[in-house]
Amino acid sequence: MSWGSAGALTGLLLVALPVIIHLLGKDPATRRAFPTLRFIAASRLLPTRWSRIHDPLLLAVRCAVLAAAVVALARPYRRQAAVSGDAASRVARVVLLDTSGVGYRENPGGARAVAQALVDSANTALLVTSNDPAGELQGAASWLAHEPGFADIVIVSDFASERYPANLPELVASSIGVRTVRIGSAGTASTNVGAPSVSWRASPAPAALSVDLIAAPQDADVRDAVLKVVARSVAADQSGGSVRAAVVLSGADGRTELLRSARAITSPSIVALAARLTRESFALPFDVDVSAPAVAASGQGTERVSVAVPASAVAVARTRDGAVALWAMEDSVTAGPRLLLFSTLPARSPVVAHVVAAVVEAIAPRESAIGAPVLADSVLQSWNRTPAAPVSAATRPATADAGASLARLLWCAVLLLLAAEWFVRRRISVASVGLGGRDAER
């Protein structure tokens, strides 16, 4: 229920007026002579000047008259009727953007653009960003139930099969249309070209990564920030920690020792990992100056670090000009095999976080990123359906008419209540006259 003049509702305070008058007004002396008082029970006597409510029916009717009049002046109307003048041509839409899939992470801007285009094409629309679109269906259906016009739900996702029930269309009313828009290249090899766009999503923090980030003490804040970004932008390590790797930033403590002890990659698991990284072929889209010597912290000061790439190293990422920005070797010190990724990038370069995130994604890929099963196109097509025709516009009164109709009804109620008030007052008067007193007119 909406109001044309909501301020008029303050007039409801007037309802208190008859009550106050009723309580404060002196009762006009209904005194009358009587033969004897012996039969008038003393237990039922009233105070001479009373303050309790008498004639409650009359008082209630008078209050109702005022309340109905005030509400009528406030010009109420139904909200649904207010927007349904051209319901037959309207489209109400809920766009569910799945942000949990790799399809979104590959190109969130593109996904959002698709979703926004869908939003813009509807008369009334709601964009819901969620990592569980199926769980949002009920709420979307409830919202659409109150909107006039054609109602449909569009799901923008990579449609990993694990996140969608097979009977998804049955979760919403049959009158609501369902449309699926696949984004990303889920199920195919990811090129990981370009810096991943990191968005701060309110998703649970992933489990501890099995990838270490080794940085200089003065770059501890950078390291923490990078780890934070990585933890939030990359899903949990699906390898269960079996793949161990370390990204050694320039200037990191022990970098020289690590470089010295590193050897060519020989362990089978590290070989496979390095092969994958090589195949991924990071081509940094940034202009990174890797020629400047990095500075490593030491106990007494700083130490210049050589950035020469060992011959046994495997180049993983290069800058645009072909310089090696990240190379891989195997750690020969630790008990188990460990991949060492040496970076020539300045620790405080903004590229570091993106590079590390991409590396982690490559060496500890999520299931979907390495070909997680997705719903077949045929399934998605079977889900698609068009919305049912909306309620005819003819049955939805126009806003002005609806408001006027309600107001007319209320004014009729006021008239009826006035008649009732007259009837009740007259009945009380007649009763008083019947008593024979001088209290006929009260």
């Binding site: 009762d27 002396a29 209904t30 005194r31 009358r32 002579a33 009587f34 033969p35 004897t36 008082l37 012996r38 039969f39 008038i40 029970a41 003393a42 039922r44 006597l45 009233l46 105070p47 001479t48 009373w50 008498h54 004639d55 009380i428 009763a431 008083s432 019947g434 008593l435 024979g436 007193g437 209290d439 009260r442």
Partner: protein, 306 residues
């Protein structure tokens, strides 16, 4: 003849006319003429005067003395009746013009009874005692006395309190022989004393009829408003919600009437309830018929000793 409503009867200022109308109404009830049984007693002769009724000429004396003499008679009465009327302030209720007050209603009934009794040859007296003044008329017969009695009835006013026991005691003293006492009152005052005096009078051989006059307004309270009641006799005031007390009030009044009736019945006293909203001749006719059927009454309409 249709019965006259209390409002119509009350509208007639002439109380004698009202009484005559009521008595005429009583006569049309299929009873025998009330004048039957009227008896006279020879008193003396006096010389005939032109205009005297020839049927009263003593022809035997004319034959002996060759002079015309008319016979004169003395009216004889059968029963002495004493009307005792409550003139307390409570009898002035209701004081609106729509209905007669209880006192006016009682006066009309008393006048009708007096008219009926005197025309039947009975003697009727009147006793009212009020705060300031009272009326005491010995029981006598004859139309002049009837007119005097009705005139007194017409002048009674409701005022103050009523000493019913004293009034009835005085009335019994005025009845020189055993007779009939008719008490018209609402019996509100000194309930116990009045009942005791009624029983006392009945025990002394008098026939007693207690006529309780009550208005509809005091038998049941109507309305929903709060009313401040003022006692007509004491001036005491009480505020009460009529709607809240009406049921309890009606029960109390009914219990009071029943108590009065039972007290009277236990002493062999007739109790007649006179609702002022009902035509008096109907109540009187029903009661007199019932009393006549009970047997032993003197007079066709049941007045007199049983």
């Amino acid at each position: 003849m249709s019965s006259l409503s209390p409002a119509v009867v009350a509208a007639i200022d002439d109380l004698e006319l009202s009484a005559r109308l009521i008595v005429e109404g009583l006569r049309t009830g299929g009873h025998r003429s009330p004048f039957h049984g009227f008896s006279t007693e020879f008193r003396q002769h006096r010389p005939y005067r032109a205009g005297d009724d020839l049927k009263h000429l003593d022809w035997k004396l004319f034959g002996r003395s060759d002079r015309l003499y008319s016979r004169q008679f003395r009216e004889t009465t059968n029963v002495s009746i004493m009307l005792v009327i409550d003139t307390s302030a409570s009898m002035g209720f209701p004081n609106n013009s729509a209905q007669p007050s209880k006192l006016r209603y009682a006066a009309i009934v008393a006048a009708a009874l007096a008219h009926l009794a005197i025309t039947q040859g009975h003697a009727v007296g009147l006793m009212t005692t009020a705060a300031q003044s009272g009326v005491m008329l010995k029981a006598r017969g004859g139309r002049p006395h009837l007119r005097a009695l009705i005139a007194q009835l017409d002048g009674v006013k409701a005022d103050g309190r009523w000493d019913g026991a004293r009034a009835m005691s005085l009335g019994a003293q005025l009845l020189q022989r055993r007779g009939l006492m008719i008490v018209l009152s609402d019996f509100y005052d000194n309930e116990e004393g009045v009942q005791r005096e009624l029983r006392h009078i009945a025990q002394h051989g008098h026939d007693v009829i207690a006529m309780q006059v009550l208005s509809a307004e005091e038998r049941s309270l109507a309305g929903t408003a709060a009313v401040e009641f003022e006692d007509l006799e004491t001036g005491e005031r009480r505020m009460a919600d009529v709607q809240a007390i009406s049921a309890e009030y009606a029960q109390s009044v009914a219990a009071f009437v029943e108590r009065t009736r039972q007290s009277a019945a236990s002493a062999g006293i007739d109790h007649v309830l006179l609702p002022t909203e009902q035509p008096p001749e109907i109540i009187l006719r029903d009661y007199l018929r019932q009393r006549s059927l009970a047997g032993g009454s003197i007079g066709p309409l049941g007045l007199g000793r049983r």
